[in-house]
């Protein structure tokens, strides 16, 4: 059967090679909006080939919706190739910057300790805040965020996921 009717949602990483030219991101995001595809994150950046960009899209979708998302993406003329990455055979990372409220010294040292455990970097220390950089899987960033939430998060910025398949040389 094509397009199974299982409606369970799960998390997917979709990787697309696209033409590196103006308007491509617009076409992709407009497609998602027009067809009501829910996107968790989307990142775009340069690749080893100058004229191509890689878009990494993460989405919580059921199989049928994912199947349509991939097929509709492939239909776009500016999209060269689309793959759903098997998360077990993929390296993927996200970078996040988290500005945490930290006035008293105990809080400050606790945050620094947590950051070290999460292999994060302290990027900035102000009078009332500490800004931490955490890089990892989205789960890891969520875990850190949950941990420091009690101090109060002043600002947070996440890049979305960037991903490549493990090993081999396939694009």
């Amino acid at each position: 059967m094509f397009a199974t009717t299982v409606q369970k949602e799960s998390w997917h990483i979709v990787s697309a090679l696209v033409e590196n030219k103006p308007g491509v991101l617009f076409r992709v995001t407009n497609l998602f909006r027009a067809r009501s595809f829910n996107i968790e994150s989307i990142t775009v950046g340069s690749t080893e080939q100058q004229d191509l960009s890689r878009m990494t899209i993460t989405t919580n979708s059921d199989e049928k919706t994912l199947d349509q998302l991939v097929k509709q993406l492939r239909k776009l003329i500016d999209v060269i190739e689309v793959k759903v990455l098997d998360t077990d055979k993929t390296v993927y990372r996200e970078l996040s910057l988290i500005k945490i409220r930290a006035v008293d010294p105990t809080t400050r040292s606790e945050i620094v300790n947590y950051a070290t455990i999460f292999r994060g970097n302290i990027l900035d220390i102000g009078k009332e805040t500490i800004t931490v950089e955490i890089t990892g899987t989205p789960d890891k960033i969520d875990a850190f965020k949950n941990l420091v939430e009690l101090y109060g998060i002043a600002q947070l910025s996440r890049t979305g996921v960037s991903a490549l398949p493990r090993g081999g040389v396939e694009s």
């Binding site: 094509f2 397009a3 199974t4 033409e19 308007g23 617009f26 239909k75």
Partner: protein, 559 residues
């Protein structure tokens, strides 16, 4: 050479023989270059009509129809026509003027981000930033519009790019990296399709618009005749198969033929050829095709599993897939008895509904008028429609005999489409009669194209079933809103005979079947457009009717 000149030459090289359009500030250089073009320009009175004409032309020629408009409102006026073409996979090339490069993004006079506006309803769009890009872009635009699943392509050219003078290179070959429209169906899927068809007791073909786009008429007929399968169609697929053929059943759907809606539910295997299982055709997605096996042929891989999960998918041009399927089947096929129970059932259903479904009790009705039209038109006449009751009556009561001679705005359902589209069709095939089966509500929207029809000598026939009512809306208000009419009455305005007269066309009112016969004969002889004004009772409904949100099994056959 200027960019504008390069555009005209590129179009000439693509074999364009007619362009429909209207000039304005931002495409003046294009219109200047047009003076020396070796193709015809047809001046419209509203850009929407230009897009519909290009669409009508494209559907008959099966190659890209071209329309021109200026920036801003000119371009936005095209949008309804572009969206119509997109919904029905029709290849049109829209060329719009744009404000000069330096003015883009400055909210200049008559500036619209038309690429952005058109994005959801175009297959692709281009905006050259230098004149040298134009020849290649036009070649790519036509290629993308016509190949694979066809669709509209927009080329938006800033005014200074039209004016710039550079050395032009016209490429012979082009390649679009992310676009591979030529796919062949998977052989293992083909084997499974053969097995399913050989084992099916009650197979049925559902012919969609893809058959017409692909010109796969003889291939479809070969499959139907080999396996002796009844053939229903979607509305877009109407006329993919001759409707007077002994296996034909007509369109299914919301206002499908009763026998077609009935038989498809009794089938055990559906071969959907170039069809997309639209809600108007199949009713509820989940209910349709339950317990049957579905073989889906389509050139667009994204159609597989979009609305309906299927058992076998044959992705590729349906003409080629059908050919392979027939070849493989003919080796294994055991001759089927022509009076097997399934074909008997077909006859039984047709006979039952012919006796059961009564016409509206009046001297002149939609059914009688359309049967008379069919009787008097040659088989190769081209017929299109407006949208609403007139369209559904055409679907029910006008049989298409020569495949590919019928089209309509089936996907978007654009009122005002039929008349300009019929003029485009006439430009594509001037030697056959072209008829727009119209209602007054729709015709009113684009009737100023009468000027084009008269002045450009493209005489079409407007078969106006006139109830001075937005009839389909009125029917729904009768059925679902307890006869509370709201915004549907036209109050006997305007007088369509006088409208025709005002444009120098021929207007004939036909108040009896005898007068109608005379009017059709006069229209067929006329060298100007003819509007035949046929009074239809505003209470005459379209039946059968499958109410929205219900399944084909819930079909209502009469009041």
């Amino acid at each position: 050479m200027t960019g504008a000149k390069a555009l005209i030459q590129a179009l000439e090289k693509e074999g364009v023989d007619v362009v429909f359009g209207l000039p304005g500030g931002a495409n003046l250089p294009i219109y200047d270059a047009l003076v020396d073009a070796n193709f015809r320009h047809i001046l419209v009175r509203h850009e929407q009509a230009a897009a519909h004409m290009a669409d009508g032309y494209a559907r008959i020629k099966r190659k890209a129809g071209v329309c021109f408009a200026t920036s801003g409102p000119g371009a936005t006026n095209l949008i309804t026509g572009i969206a119509t073409a997109y919904a029905d996979s029709s290849p049109i090339l829209a060329v719009t003027g744009q404000v000069p490069l330096a003015m883009i993004g400055k909210d200049a006079f008559q500036e619209t981000d038309i690429i952005g506006v058109a994005n959801p309803c175009t297959k692709y769009s281009f905006q050259p930033r230098s004149a040298a890009e134009i020849p290649e872009m036009i070649k790519k635009a036509v290629y993308i519009a016509e190949s694979g699943r066809p669709g509209p392509v927009l080329v938006d050219i800033p005014k200074d790019v039209q004016q710039a003078t550079v050395d032009m290179k016209f490429p012979e070959l082009i390649k679009v990296r992310g676009y591979n429209p030529n796919v062949e169906a998977d052989l293992s899927e083909m084997v499974r399709a053969v097995e399913l068809l050989l084992n099916a007791e009650r197979p049925i073909i559902m012919a969609g618009g893809g058959v017409i786009l692909s010109g796969a008429f003889s291939e479809l007929q070969a499959l139907a005749e080999l396996v002796k399968i009844p053939v229903v169609s979607t509305f877009k697929g109407k006329g993919a198969f001759p409707e007077n053929h002994p296996l034909a059943m007509g369109p299914i759907g919301m206002h499908g033929h009763a026998e077609a809606n009935k038989i498809i539910l009794e089938a055990d295997c559906i071969v959907a050829v170039g069809a997309r299982f639209s809600d108007r055709s199949v009713g509820k997605f989940d209910e349709f095709g339950k317990g049957m096996s579905i073989i889906h042929m389509d050139i667009d891989p994204a159609e597989i599993g979009k609305n309906k999960s299927v058992d076998v998918a044959l992705v590729g041009d349906v003409k080629s897939s059908l050919r392979t399927l027939v070849k493989m089947l003919s080796k294994k096929m055991i001759k089927k008895d022509s009076d097997n129970p399934w074909l008997k059932r077909r006859k039984e259903l047709i006979q039952y509904y012919a006796e059961t479904l009564k016409d509206y009790p009046r001297e002149i009705t939609a059914r009688k008028s359309l049967k008379k039209l069919r009787e008097l038109l040659p088989a190769n006449a081209i017929v299109t429609t407006e949208v609403g009751q007139c369209q559904m009556w055409a679907s029910l009561h006008f049989d298409v005999i020569t495949p590919g001679t019928f089209f309509s705005s089936t996907g978007l359902g654009t009122m005002g489409f039929g008349f300009p589209a019929s003029i485009g069709a006439k430009a594509a095939r001037p030697n056959v009669p072209v008829v727009d089966i119209a209602g007054d509500g729709s015709f009113n929207m684009t009737e100023n194209s009468l000027a084009v029809s008269v002045l450009d000598k493209l005489p079409v026939i407007v078969f106006l079933m006139n109830n001075y009512m937005l009839g389909m809306v009125a029917q729904w208000q009768r059925t679902f809103y307890n006869r509370r009419y709201s915004g549907v009455h036209q109050h006997n305005c305007p007088d369509y005979v006088k409208i025709a007269d005002a444009y120098g066309a021929q207007g004939i009112r036909a108040e009896s079947m005898h007068e109608l016969e005379k009017a059709i004969k006069a229209a067929l002889k006329s060298d100007v457009a003819t509007v035949i004004d046929i009074p239809i009772d505003p209470e005459e409904d379209v039946y059968p009717f499958v109410a929205p949100g219900t399944g084909l099994k819930d079909m209502i056959t009469g009041a």
